[in-house]
Symmetry: C2
DNA sequence: AATTAGCACTCAAGCTAAGTGAGTGCTAAC
DNA sequence: GTTAGCACTCACTTAGCTTGAGTGCTAATT
């Protein structure tokens, strides 16, 4: 039994219809709606074959067929057309970018919102992971009440600060000098792996400021640690409630709780991506029991040469794969453009 | 017809039972469960009175009674006991605080999560609003690619930074000098209302750096503006799905969509609070059509003398008011403690 | 050999009718 | 004022029936 042209067409018809209606698709429906030039009986025979091959499933004896995970997989890998981002979608994306966005966090959040709106699915994204970042500058500044601000800037112009309490707080001018010494010593060092010699030298050069120096190192370590445990955000989960798959509150609750816990998802999103393309997890392929009725399509965005993140779309298994893939690709392009423009060494 | 002791007891019994079961409460149930020393017939008569007075409602002829908004209002105002935070709850709150929290945002988020967990309702909170803040320090620093970081610290030790692109970027030492000049001139000025004379003087003193000076003023203005539009966060919405009130997905979806839009809620949360106490909106009292089956209990937290925020709990109208109020009060105390300890002029 | 028409069969979903039980309101007795 | 008793109401459940979409099989047709 071979998968000829006609079988593929019928499978596609079933998937299309099922994506649109969420109802099992019968042979007569296909015969009428899709012009295959054969009768429903023939289609019935073909469907019987497709079922035997495992691409479609009959939920119960007198119902139509719905695609199996395997069927979706075949569709995604071989049948689906990957169309370009539509005009309307592009316009929305551009209007998003043109807003005065200066915080990555905020940009990602807005992007996710937009994606959810465009697709009517949920959007998952990770905070950008910064690997192999090198320290560019460290700045200290005094605050009220014996508090010290420690600010770290890394390549890619990512800036983070932290406020700590110190026993002894030098004058600002002195702090500036200390900052300069620290910066000189640590500049271009890898955040993850600071040379022990440098550390020792710093403690020596800044005798009397042990407390501050050690707080600086602590802060660096904390930033590295906070990056390690990737953080995920989800938006547009409401959309999921619109699908009959989740018309049972129990199911919706389960899904939402799984999403909230995040650890399972986290593993999925941080999985290595083999190439630059999207990764598609259909139904059980995600390995998450609670998400067997969902599919996830993820991809990575990159900017600079050491900052990456993952963004993905989550929907029911019968999601519109073709649309989702193109939206995802289109939006990632946009993010990368914005970020590169914002953080790279433009103007060198 | 007067609201005597017995009627109040019966109303309380109805509310208690309804809070626990979400089922209409009948006269026999009350006679059995609550030891009022009268028969169900008597209770029936009293219930009939209570209904006439508008405190309870009969959903249909052969059903028990449920409390009306008015009934809950009476309960909340006159009957409810405001008990102290329990042991278990206190322990959780303390363990939250002891984590190394240094970002207000993060603290609020964790607090909200904890409240949701304790109460099994949803928690709403606003980012802290900073009013009448005075500038303490402004710091400039150069970054790669002609980017300039502008950092503003205000009293209460709130630090924000922004990265902008500039045409001409001075050396760091020069930027430090400029920072010092700017700080000297603007220190203790109100963020919202910077003296025009100071502005002029600054432009004069820093001739040649017009671009930078104007960017600094822009940044200040943006921070003020970003504070004006209060931002809300919601956590624990999943909890709502557990209540039979939302076992219809349609209802849950409506609620979630209303919550997502936020403008309606925003108005509610930013309403002036008459006193230091909690504010309770029962059912339609919120004025939000979609939330007629919900109640919201809000309160404000304060730290320093110019930073305030609102935090609230959202649940079904039959929520456990007594518990919610005490959790809310307890948690707010905790937040205030942490924040004051973190940001105030301790050690002066 | 492939396709199709025809028909018996299956089964979820929708409808109806009867039964159940929690709850009320009223009346008469205490 | 309180209570027992009883008729009445009405949502909810259950079982049985009907409907219709859909299948699988067979025999006829191309």
């Amino acid at each position: 039994m071979s998968l000829d042209e006609r079988k593929l067409k019928i499978l596609q018809a079933i998937i299309n219809d099922y994506i649109a209606t969420a109802e099992p698709v019968g042979s007569r429906t296909i015969a009428k709606k899709y012009d295959l030039g054969v009768s429903s009986a023939t289609i019935r025979n073909e469907m019987s074959d497709l079922e035997e091959m495992g691409f479609i499933i009959q939920p119960h004896a007198s119902a139509g067929r719905i695609p199996s995970d395997m069927g979706y997989r075949l569709y995604v890998d071989n049948i689906m057309k990957r169309h370009k981002l539509g005009e309307r979608e592009k316009r929305l994306a551009v209007s998003l970018i043109s807003k005065n966005i200066n915080q990555i966090q905020y940009l990602m959040d807005e992007t996710a919102r937009l994606i959810s709106k465009l697709t009517n699915y949920a959007t998952i994204f990770s905070d950008p992971i910064v690997k192999n970042t090198r320290i560019q500058k460290i700045q200290l500044m005094s605050l009220e009440g014996n508090k010290l601000m420690i600010l770290i800037a890394t390549d890619g112009n990512i800036v983070k600060h932290k406020i700590v309490e110190v026993r002894y707080l030098p004058e600002d001018d002195r702090l500036y000098e200390i900052s300069t010494v620290i910066t000189e010593m640590l500049k271009n060092q890898l955040m993850e792996n600071i040379d022990e010699n440098c550390k020792d030298t710093l403690y020596q050069e800044l005798t009397g400021y042990d407390e501050i120096v050690s707080l600086v190192f602590d802060t660096i370590e904390q930033f590295v640690a906070s990056v390690e445990k990737e953080k995920f955000h989800i938006s547009g989960t409401n959309n999921m409630l619109a699908y009959p798959e989740f018309s049972d509150v129990e199911k919706a609750k389960n899904l939402f709780q799984t999403l909230e816990k995040k650890d399972a998802l986290s593993k999925l999103l941080s999985e290595p991506k083999n190439n630059n393309d999207v990764q598609i997890y259909i139904g059980n392929e995600s390995g998450i029991e609670e998400m067997k009725d969902c599919s996830i399509i993820t991809t990575t965005y990159e900017f600079g040469n050491n900052i990456t993140g993952t963004i993905g779309i989550l929907g029911p298994t019968r999601m519109n794969y073709s649309q989702v893939v193109s939206v995802l690709n289109g939006m990632v392009e946009n993010i990368e453009d914005v970020l590169n423009n914002l953080h790279n060494k433009k103007g060198d």
